[in-house]
């Protein structure tokens, strides 16, 4: 369904110079890229480790090449083998998907050196954005806000002076620190010198290094990121923002576009900052600029991801663009799909990441097998996955099994449709977070758009799955009993004379 909403202008699809593209990935994202290749009439090549020889992404591609490695993940990280596979199959370009080698500057360089096109930015840009310090400095120099900080020092008075100039609240940390030692939150100038002295003495005691530094403390931070497209010539547009504040184990589980309750001026400022950064870097490809947004409206650059993002479908749903197609056309030198003013926005989209994990056990990964997969269908819904009946769910790869992406005319409708779809979705044979996701979406704070990265921890108790009502419990027991041969036989298959006597058989 991914392309059904796509309204990329009927660019020069026919003149795309790529005849065959290798996708250096697997699972749902490989399948996602193949769909666009099929739509564009470009031949596809899959790669796979021995353990996934019959996987969906392998079957979906026109050709497949086995790659080897000590583990399946190691195989997918072996750039040399992947480039050889591309050359051997006559591919002219490599799409890296997300994860694996997608942000590996050395791989991007090697792909180009082999005479192939890397569907992504050039190696130097990947390296620039891949290093937190260089990315931060680059952003700051282009007027993109970065969290103010005061460098480590032992001169407490100078430190207090500089720190007070940043503003409050501030987080004071030991330069050599860790584990919360020597850390404190300071909310006013009057506390500052005292707190700095205390932090310095703790730092000295625990780490033998009394230097402390301070940075702006963002309370209840929201994760807001901007989808961008750059043509590599200094032209860039944004496709609005996404909010990805609902996270567990520092990973996103629910993403949406647009962000809830974002003041129009603030939204414009964040998107403009992202475009400024991308244009200055002469960035080529789709990319994502991530920000932290404080409750006070201040926002700070976090990092830039120089690849297609897991949550890109929510942006596709509200803009009607096919981002994979945009990536390919940009890599082919066709430039941006449209001018900024032509980027449309329709309604609201939410993505839920369906993971093999147990929310009741700190979200630890679960294993199992796909015994039954029942997926709701609707024109407003995408179920991105590469699952097959009977497929074993192991810990070989990431626990994300699928993505449920739902569109609605507004946020309330998108939430209601998402909850209904999660309830209808049946993935039997492995413990998943499906019910947990439905509880998050149904929580009043989520509905109100009161989000921050501590959401899962803050609402921990309220998000515990409640007990079924006695009615539902009895329905489940009857439904289960009818599935057991012993019960079924006794209830139905016994010949009539025995049926009235009932009870035991041998």
């Amino acid at each position: 369904m991914s392309s059904s909403h796509a309204t990329n202008p009927p660019a020069a699809a026919t003149s795309i110079p790529f005849k065959r593209i290798l996708v250096a990935n697997r699972g749902e994202i490989a399948c996602r890229v193949f769909r666009t290749l099929n739509a564009l009439g470009i031949a596809s090549v899959a790669i796979h480790h021995r353990v996934e020889a019959r996987a969906k992404h392998v079957r979906m591609a026109d050709q497949a090449v086995e790659i080897s490695g000590e583990t399946p993940v190691a195989a997918h990280l072996d750039g040399r083998q992947i480039i050889e596979a591309a050359l051997a199959t006559g591919a002219d370009a490599i799409h890296p998907g997300y994860g694996f080698l997608s942000e590996n500057a050395g791989f991007a360089k090697a792909v180009v050196a082999a005479g192939l096109t890397f569907i992504g930015p050039d190696a130097a840009t990947i390296a620039l954005m891949g290093d937190k310090i260089s990315a931060r400095n680059f952003a700051a120099a282009r007027g993109v806000p970065v969290a103010p900080s005061v460098m480590p020092t032992q001169d407490i008075d100078a430190f207090a002076r500089d720190a007070a100039a940043i503003g409050f609240p501030l987080l004071i940390k030991a330069a050599a620190g860790g584990g919360g030692k020597g850390m404190s939150i300071v909310r006013s100038a009057s506390e500052l010198t005292q707190a700095a002295r205390l932090a310095a003495s703790e730092a000295q005691r625990y780490f033998g290094d009394g230097r402390v530094y301070a940075e702006t403390y963002v309370e209840r931070p929201r994760h807001i990121e901007v989808q961008v497209l750059g043509d590599g010539q200094g032209n860039a547009i944004h496709l609005f923002e996404r909010e990805c504040s609902v996270q567990r184990r520092f990973q996103k589980i629910i993403e949406e576009a647009p962000a809830a309750n974002l003041a129009p001026e603030l939204r414009e400022a964040i998107c403009a900052a992202a475009v400024r950064l991308v244009a200055a870097a002469k960035y080529r490809n789709a990319g994502t600029v991530e920000f932290i947004l404080g409750a006070d409206g201040r926002f700070f650059f976090l990092e830039m991801n120089t690849r297609l993002q897991v949550e890109h479908p929510v942006t596709e749903m509200i803009t009607g663009l096919d981002l994979v197609r945009a990536q390919i056309e940009i890599a082919a030198g066709h430039g941006l799909p449209m001018a900024q003013g032509a980027v449309a926005q329709h309604g609201h989209a939410i993505e839920c990441r369906i993971c093999a994990e147990d929310p009741a056990r700190e979200f630890l990964p679960e294993t199992g097998a796909v015994r039954y997969l029942g997926v709701p269908e609707a024109e407003y819904l995408r179920f991105e996955n590469a699952l097959d009946p009977g497929q074993k769910i192991t810990t070989d790869f990431d626990p994300m099994l699928a993505k449920l992406v739902v569109h609605g005319p507004n946020r309330d409708a998108a939430i209601a449709r998402s909850i209904a779809a999660l309830k209808e979705l049946a993935l039997l044979g492995v413990t998943t977070n499906i019910d947990y996701l439905a509880r998050v979406l149904g929580h009043p704070a989520f509905r109100a758009g009161d989000l921050h990265t501590g959401f899962v921890a803050e609402h921990r108790e309220a998000l515990v799955i409640d007990q079924p009502t006695p009615d539902v419990l009895h329905q489940a027991l009857i439904a289960a009993a009818l599935g057991f041969r012993e019960f079924h036989d006794l209830a139905f298959s016994v010949p009539e004379p025995h049926a009235s006597i009932g009870q035991w058989r041998n």
Partner: protein
């Protein structure tokens, strides 16, 4: 007679009260008429209880049944009617077949997690680790290394849930 069903770790009894003209079952003292009983196959199903349609998805996985009903997932297991289990089938580890104990991995008083191997047995030249059925504390290990046992014999007991705080 009552079927013993363990649903998500809790033991329930379900009785067949009548079969004609419609199936009537009793659960916790409540009788339910099941007028449409669906098929035995895996997949989406609709049954009718007290005249109302109940939709669900169901799949068989070895001796367990997996259910998706009312936006919830359930796991069910049918207990052997000869079983003396009262604790929901979760308080002890039974031998799935006759054999001998190869290795005892835990000791009485050990805290164990669901799925953790407690004991390795050998039956018909095959070694199998018997996992803990739930989180708990080991109350007794009834067979030591080298000893033989029969099918369904209790090998390891866990402390009652009620005794753990």
């Amino acid at each position: 007679m009552a079927f013993k069903l363990v649903l998500d770790g809790t033991l329930h009894e379900i009785d067949i009260v009548r079969r004609r003209p419609h199936l009537v079952v009793r659960i916790d003292g409540c009788e339910h008429e099941v007028s449409v009983t669906g098929s035995y196959d895996d997949g989406r199903q609709a049954i009718e209880i007290a005249g109302s349609a109940v939709h669900f998805a169901r799949a068989h996985a070895a001796d367990r049944l997996l259910l998706r009903l009312d936006g919830r997932s359930f796991e069910a297991k049918l207990l052997d009617p000869r079983s003396e289990e009262t604790g929901g089938g979760q308080d002890s580890v039974r031998a799935p077949m006759p054999g001998a104990v190869v290795t005892v991995h835990k000791a009485v008083g050990d805290q164990v997690s669901r799925g953790e191997p407690l004991i390795t047995i050998e039956s018909m030249k095959l070694q199998t680790a018997l996992p803990a059925p739930r989180d708990g504390v080991i109350a007794a290990i009834l067979r030591s290394e080298g000893e033989v046992f029969d099918k369904d014999e209790i090998i390891v007991r866990l402390e009652d849930m009620a005794q753990e705080s």
